[in-house]
Every structure is written in structure tokens, then in C-alpha cells.
Amino acid sequence: MDASPSYIQSYCTIRDRSIVLNGTIFLKMDIATPLADFLKSAYRQLDIDYPKFHKMDSLCKAIFIATELMARHSGPYASDTALIFSNRSSSYLSDNKHATGIFDTENQTASPATFVYTLPNIALGEISIRHQLHSENVFFIFDRYLPEFLVPYTEAALDDKQIEHAIGGWTEISEHTCDLLLYHIGKLGSIPHTVAKLKRIYNEHE
């Protein structure tokens, strides 16, 4: 039985070079567009003024864009909205950048602006600042999207903390690819927060 006491308020997928909010395309670009350019275009299309965005690494940028879009549909988020995220590569993009700098034989460099992004949960800090979320954050590392773990864990977290909302999902980014599914969970609605439903949403992004 896949019954669930919570419902999906909104969901966002970013894959290849398209961003889809609740099944509707927000942005679609040519597959050859560099990921950084694509994320920048998405930011422009959001039409907001948030200079901190430009300092972020791609993991934070993608998560920022998806949470911003979901907030337009089902926000503003309650300040106790729990953040339960996961991916495979942790903060690999920034790790790679920092490690490249420190092993450069010509010009060894280590920059605080890069190093601070070498933790995956920094993205949770970024969206907590943006949406003023004072809540529990947890970042899990798995080899693939694992709703079988995340759905019951999220339901238990809501029950344990006596709260009604969470944002969670899968946020896998590499240099050229993005595989992101985030969803906003609440107590009322029509789309059940179940493993089966999330598997369908994860697989149906065009």
C-alpha cells in the first residue's frame, strides 16, 4: 500500500536544457547550450534582482532556480519547511575547481569563494537565506534517486517535528548535465506524496 498523509504542492524538474514546473515548460534551450549559460538564462527569465546568484556554483544555481519557481506556484514557504535533499556527486563541481587550483604546478591557488561551495548543503543555506527558512537541513548522498528512502523519511520527519512542509528531491549536477527533481510537500492537495507518483514524475520529464 502506497498511502501517504502528505501531498505534492508543486514540483520542478531540470534536465538536459529544459526546466519544467508542474508539467509546464518554463524554459527550453538547445541541448548544445553550455550549462552555465542555460542557468544564467533561466535566472534572467525569473526576472529577479538577486546578485548573490552569480556567486553560486551550478549546484546552488539549479536548486535556487527550482525553489524560486515552486515558490511562485505554492509559496511563500512556511519558515519551518524542512529541507531533505540528495544527489550522487555531492559538491563535485566546486571540489573539482578547488582541487585543480591547489595542484596547479604553475600557479597554486585556493579561493575562499570556491572553497565555501565544496559542501553540498551550502545550497540549502542559500535557499534558506533567500526564503528565510529556519528549519532542519539534511543532505543525503546516494548512487541514484531513491524515493523508496526519501518518501518515508520525509513523512517521518514531518511527523517527528510536527511540521507540515518540506522541500526535497534529487539534485545531480555535473559539468555538462543536470538531473534535478525538487518538490514542495504539504498536508493538503491532490497529488499524493508517494514513491509511485514521484517515480512517474521523475521519469516523465520530456
Binding site: A99, L119, I141
Partner: protein, 375 residues
């Protein structure tokens, strides 16, 4: 009513040695693992850090050459728990790994002898799972410097919400690497000597390495310690600096205290990294909670900041302190150095104790507070 969850066993591998009892005795004797370190593979100048000597673990696991240094330490700690407590290696047992950077020392390192894919934490988890033949995929948590304490809270919640697992092994670890040293140095966060948590003259942290493991279950033993309550809140203020008002830590402690029924605390095991801003933030948060008078220590001057292990390591030593009825002094403290006063422990006072508060804070603005209580 949710089931009570207990820590019934532990293992510590640190530069002071293997075994939590040994480590506890060494702290009471005032021994520290922080020492000057001249190693050009880490930095082009001397740093002060707490590093595990290789002879402590070399040759102690099977097919040792197949595993990285950090994986070997994780495996040793898990093996120790399995052997000591007779934990079954089957579907009832879950491993939770806590680390900030895992095998990151391999990344772009010309001296690395493992494929770079091992930098991925899921690969590391896979190696550890298959060494023992665990049926369940380990759950890996990477949530900055609260990872170890957060992993205990996650273990508690998993055991309370599901009957799928009976035994949860929570294992935290990180190693010192050029990656981490250069990064903390770029932040100008490293102390030029042994660190001085909460002291007036503190000027930064020491890095340390340790692997700490806790055996968490619903079934208490005579000397078990209950994970009474947890609170965890983000500052929502800054990604790399602590909140000036200690907001997230204040909320975390308040939540844990509320859930535990506002109990009397015997001591506080603080995060206490010995950076100017962190320790000040903690003093403010504790003051706001009305807990400034509770005896408090930081163990960072003994072990350095062991990152993903720290919350677990410090909790395990806190449990020993509780059981032995012996407060652990906060090494490195001489002069009060925070705007709100704290009752920093300077002598190994003996007294009967029941419970303590453990706190941790990390990059990304995350904070956690846990309350542990003797059965």
C-alpha cells in the same frame, strides 16, 4: 508515544589511539593529539593539526591495498562494533556514514593510487558495504560540520519510524588533506598554535582526523545512553559566517530542551572550534537559552576539528564523561573571551551526572542540538 532510542556501544579511532575508553582516559590525563606538523603534501609551511599515525591501522583489514586510508579507518571502526557487540550483518542492520569530504584527498592529486571515481561518496559507501556484505545500502550524510551529530538524529528517527532496522551503526570520519588545509587556510581560519576554544586569545581552529562510531538501537543495555531529543535549525543568515545572534543554534537548543521537557543539564559539549566568530556565536546562543552557567567544554584542543566525525566523537566522549561522573576540562582555555560569560570547565571535577547537551554548527548556516541521558 515513540520508542526510546539508545546508544549502546561505540568505537573511536583517533590520534590518541583506538577505543573510546582509552581516549577518555587520555583526555582526563590532559593528553592532546594536536601537534606541529611539517608535511609538504599538506602545506608548504608548518601547521598544527591532529593526525592519525599510519601504524595504527596498517595491515589490520583484509585486502588492505584495495581500500583508501579513510575507507580502512571506517572499516576498522565498523568491524570493531560488529565484533564487540555481536551485531548481525544482515537486513536488520543499517550503516549510516557521516563525512564532509570522504576520499577528496584523491582528487587531482598526482600521488593518488586510486581511480578518481573513489572521490564520489556513493563509491566509498559501496566499498564499505561490500567489504562486510551488508544487505542494505549505507545511508551517507554530508551536511558540513554537523554531519556526525545529525547522523545520530537521523538514526533515531529511522528507528522510531520503521521496524525495518534493529541495529543502526552510525560512523563518522574525515581525514586531513591538502584540499581541506588549503581551504581553511584561504578562510584564514587556522590557528598558529594549539587552538584555544572560548579563550580571549583564540585565533582559529586546528584540523584533526578521527573515525567515531556509535551503535544505536531500541534495546537498552545497563549502561546505555538515551538520545532524548534533537533540534536542528538553519540560521538563514550567511553561508560561511555564523549568525551574530546565534539564531539557528538558539532555536536548535530551545527545540531540544522543549522536547526533552526542560530538563536540568549537567554539562554542555559545545562545538567550540576556537574561531573568533564561532565561539562568540555559541556564547550568545547559550546566553539567550539561559544556559550560560552550565559547565561547558569544547574538545577541539584535544582532537582538532574532525569535521564529519566531530559531532559523534564528542558525543561518545561526553557519554563516557556522563557514565564515569567526571567532567572533561576544556583544554586551551585561560581567559574568558566571549561577550556573554560561559562556565568553561577547567578542572576534571567528579560528580554524579544524568544528562548533557551536545551542539554543533557548520557552514551553510546549519546547527544541531541533542540531549543525551543515562538510562
Amino acid at each position: 508515544m515513540k520508542a526510546a532510542i539508545f546508544i549502546v556501544g561505540d568505537c573511536v579511532i583517533s590520534p590518541l589511539g583506538m577505543g573510546s575508553t582509552l581516549n577518555f582516559e587520555k583526555l582526563l590525563a590532559g593528553e592532546t593529539a594536536v601537534a606541529p606538523l611539517d608535511d609538504t603534501t599538506l602545506a608548504d609551511h608548518r601547521i598544527h593539526a591532529a593526525r592519525i599515525a599510519d601504524h595504527q591501522w596498517v595491515g589490520k583489514i583484509q585486502n588492505a591495498s584495495k581500500y583508501t586510508r579513510l575507507e580502512t579507518l571506517f572499516i576498522l571502526a565498523i568491524q570493531n562494533l560488529i565484533d564487540t557487540y555481536g551485531i548481525p550483518v544482515d537486513r536488520r542492520t543499517l550503516v549510516i556514514l557521516s563525512t564532509t569530504k570522504g576520499n577528496v584527498s584523491l582528487l587531482h592529486n598526482p600521488a593518488a593510487r586510486f581511480p578518481e571515481s573513489r572521490v564520489y561518496l556513493s563509491e566509498m559507501a559501496h566499498e564499505i558495504q561490500h567489504y562486510f556484505g551488508f544487505e542494505n545500502q549505507p545511508i551517507t550524510i554530508s551536511n558540513a560540520c554537523i554531519s556526525g551529530a545529525l547522523a545520530l538524529s537521523v538514526a533515531r528517527q529511522l528507528l522510531q519510524s520503521s521496524d525495518a532496522y534493529e541495529h543502526v551503526l552510525v560512523v563518522g570520519g574525515d581525514e586531513i588533506s591538502k584540499f581541506i588545509v588549503s581551504g581553511f587556510e584561504a578562510f584564514q581560519a587556522l590557528s598558529d598554535g594549539r587552538c584555544r576554544p572560548f579563550d580571549r586569545d583564540r585565533n582559529g581552529l586546528n584540523l584533526g582526523e578521527a573515525v567515531a562510531a556509535a551503535y544505536v538501537t531500541k534495546n537498552p543495555t545497563d549502561d546505555a545512553v538515551c538520545i532524548r531529543a534533537a533540534g536542528s535549525f538553519n540560521d538563514a543568515n550567511h553561508i560561511s559566517g555564523p549568525s551574530r545572534t546565534g539564531e539557528g543554534l538558539y532555536r536548535s537548543i530551545r527545540e531540544a530542551m522543549r522536547l526533552a521537557g526542560e530538563p536540568a543539564l549537567d554539562f554542555i559539549s559545545a562545538h567550540g572550534t576556537a574561531t573568533v566568530y564561532n565561539d562568540e556565536m555559541e556564547a550568545i546562543a547559550l546566553h539567550r537559552c539561559g544556559l550560560s552557567a552550565i559547565p561547558l567544554h569544547s574538545l577541539k584542543a584535544y582532537y582538532g576539528h574532525t569535521l564529519g566525525a566531530s559531532g559523534l566523537l564528542e558525543t561518545i566522549l561526553g557519554i563516557h564523561s556522563l557514565r564515569a561522573g567526571q567532567l572533561i576540562p576544556s583544554l586551551g582555555f585561560q581567559h574568558p573571551g566571549t561577550s556573554k560569560p560561559l562556565n568553561v570547565i577547567t578542572q576534571p571535577i567528579a560528580r554524579p551526572m544524568s544528562r548533557f547537551l551536545k551542539t554543533a554548527s557548520g557552514f551553510g548556516g546549519c546547527n544541531i542540538a541533542l540531549i543525551f541521558e543515562k538510562v
